[in-house]
Symmetry: C2
Amino acid sequence: MGKTIKIGLLGSGTVGSGVVEVLKKNVDEISQKSGTEIEIKKILVRDLKKKRPHLEGMELTDDINDILKDEDIDIIVELMGGLHPAREYMLRAMKAGKHVVTANKDVVAQFGKDMFGAAKENRVEFLFEASVGGGIPIITPLKESLTANRITEVMGIVNGTTNYMLTQMTNCGNDYETALREAQELGYAEANPAADVEGYDAARKVAILASLAFNTRVTLDDVSVEGITHITPQDIEYAKELGYVIKLLAIANDSEKGVDVRVHPAFLKKAHPLASVNDVFNAIFIKGNAIGEAMFYGQGAGSLPTASAVVADIITVAREIVKGIYAAVDCSAFQVKPFCPLEETESSYYIRLLVADQPGVLGTIATVFGDQGVSLKSVIQTQRVKDQAEIVVVTHHVYHKQLLKAEQVLLNLPVVTTISNVIRVETKKGEV
Amino acid sequence: MGKTIKIGLLGSGTVGSGVVEVLKKNVDEISQKSGTEIEIKKILVRDLKKKRPHLEGMELTDDINDILKDEDIDIIVELMGGLHPAREYMLRAMKAGKHVVTANKDVVAQFGKDMFGAAKENRVEFLFEASVGGGIPIITPLKESLTANRITEVMGIVNGTTNYMLTQMTNCGNDYETALREAQELGYAEANPAADVEGYDAARKVAILASLAFNTRVTLDDVSVEGITHITPQDIEYAKELGYVIKLLAIANDSEKGVDVRVHPAFLKKAHPLASVNDVFNAIFIKGNAIGEAMFYGQGAGSLPTASAVVADIITVAREIVKGIYAAVDCSAFQVKPFCPLEETESSYYIRLLVADQPGVLGTIATVFGDQGVSLKSVIQTQRVKDQAEIVVVTHHVYHKQLLKAEQVLLNLPVVTTISNVIRVETKKGEV
């Protein structure tokens, strides 16, 4: 056994506590797999006075310099979250020659380039398996196991909060507000749920996945984002009738049209492997030109699952220290690929409209779609809503810009009261 | 870019051709990810005269020494299959200082210890991602991404041939012989299908997975094996009625009773993530004390998917050569855990019996089970088969030895004509 490897832990919240617990309860296996003992030397906390019985006997500090200037510490494990000061602390740590392990999707999605640069410059590891998919191994597989592929598609359910809410809405008929309240009561959603329900959490994760999968830099700003706040029980019901479920999907495509990365709710065929991923589970589906299709499934959040990913990264670093090697995989964004503008993306769409309940309306609407080159796959159902009629249409594959144009024209028709909702339908082009 | 890395390829069959194709079509990505060019220098074939248009322009040889003694060759990629001479060639290659990448589950499951020993002794890599689950990344995740866990369970569908057959039997009502013939026509089953249908292929794979997951040596001989040859359309139908599908499962448990590794068909609840893994797809489900549950899904066989795993291993080796490091993860079987004898394993069972169609028979049979301490969950259906009655019972969790005893007593009853089938039902203990 080599010298004990010492960790400086930044943050002692849910994931931090999980890391402490996992390192403790699996201590024998972990030291055998690492070839050395691993010890948390210091923990950065915000408030030294707060009671933390689970950290009994550990050295706490509220001064980052206590940790960054401690030459005994080999690895900084950053679990504070948020952009600042997490980014600065990690950069300083690397400059001081310390390896960094983080679960911070915000920093990786926004400042990935700087972080990888700093890691390379200082010959340290910068590992972030826990930033996407909680415990699910997906970063290492992308960096090491799927390297023989040209990956063309990544599609995933990467936000547990919204997946729990949509599952509740689907299985119990709950509306959005009820589902959100339940998720909050269970601790799955924050008091301010915006980052989850508006899709930004998923967007950060898919930016990271797309960068790794397509070998080009994708940041949060490159992701088109739409959340689930507008999904109603009616939409869920129509989806069911048509043989679909609604999921918040993180999608990234790399095609001749460019790289296209987005987060939005979508109708997904019930038979699709992602359709049965329920509650807080996450899953990531990958398509590559050698492997075909592969999927990774597991718990996308939570104290111990996320700690599983963090500690795996710690072990990876420990093994390198023990062997005296620097085995970091170079930053994989070695290409600069153009993006495909959202308007040029293609999809099938579900559109729910409220219209005047009078003869000929359906014909008028169908004509508008036709004029914009939007061919309709089906008008699945109409029903009366007070003195109006509800019409639901599903289109064949059309460009997003065609859809936008058709919407505009429809809204100007006197017979159209409102477009209640528009949701993408995940089908392959030409699929019926 | 460093010096070109040269490969000696042993075998030019399905997977070998896939490796040639993948290295060619993704050449740019692969060289950027490796940091160097990768080139197949020589290919060992059995018959030099056979036409191989896809290997046009490549150097073929039928003499292993041409490859093993070529000092220019850095990596041997063994895709011949079978124990011998594959094992000997790989050992010789390692002794000659060459890294080895293989898809050979037979050798890894039977001679893993020797292979890892030789690799360590000669400071070369011995990588075998393609030996289990085709393209699905599972070996690297177990060696690197799940290391923080104490893994307690591995359950997978790891044989594509039998999964295709069972899917056909379930969806089309085909009998075993028809399903086998179809699988053979499609090239999914060999002319001699024994290794697949009798479960030995799956057994080799689960031995490898269990060794990695539980950190103890598990070889083919330690696996209890039962194939699918006795599964009939009746069993499939009863399973459906009860809300199950029948799958050939590879199961490994590590509990206080010891390590228990087996392959057998089993009833699996329709809602289980593995239940919807159909056709030639494979999936591996892992339970760990930090990650909870995780699943890896993809194509378990085929030329390109398997090549995806082989080439990923090649890239791993290439990166080490380029960096001038030796980063091999030590053999993970650092513990010696006792095995749990099959008789001591517990399961719920489905039992289909043919009995005399006379009053009181059901009572007699229930009493036999009761006498052996086997509590019945349900007697799901009886129907007449000629002048006899068919009874299907499902037991609660019982020890395998209790089941065996009950079977023995039942077969001695004059009213019992035969026990038509006994199949395990995958439920958690105490689950209703």
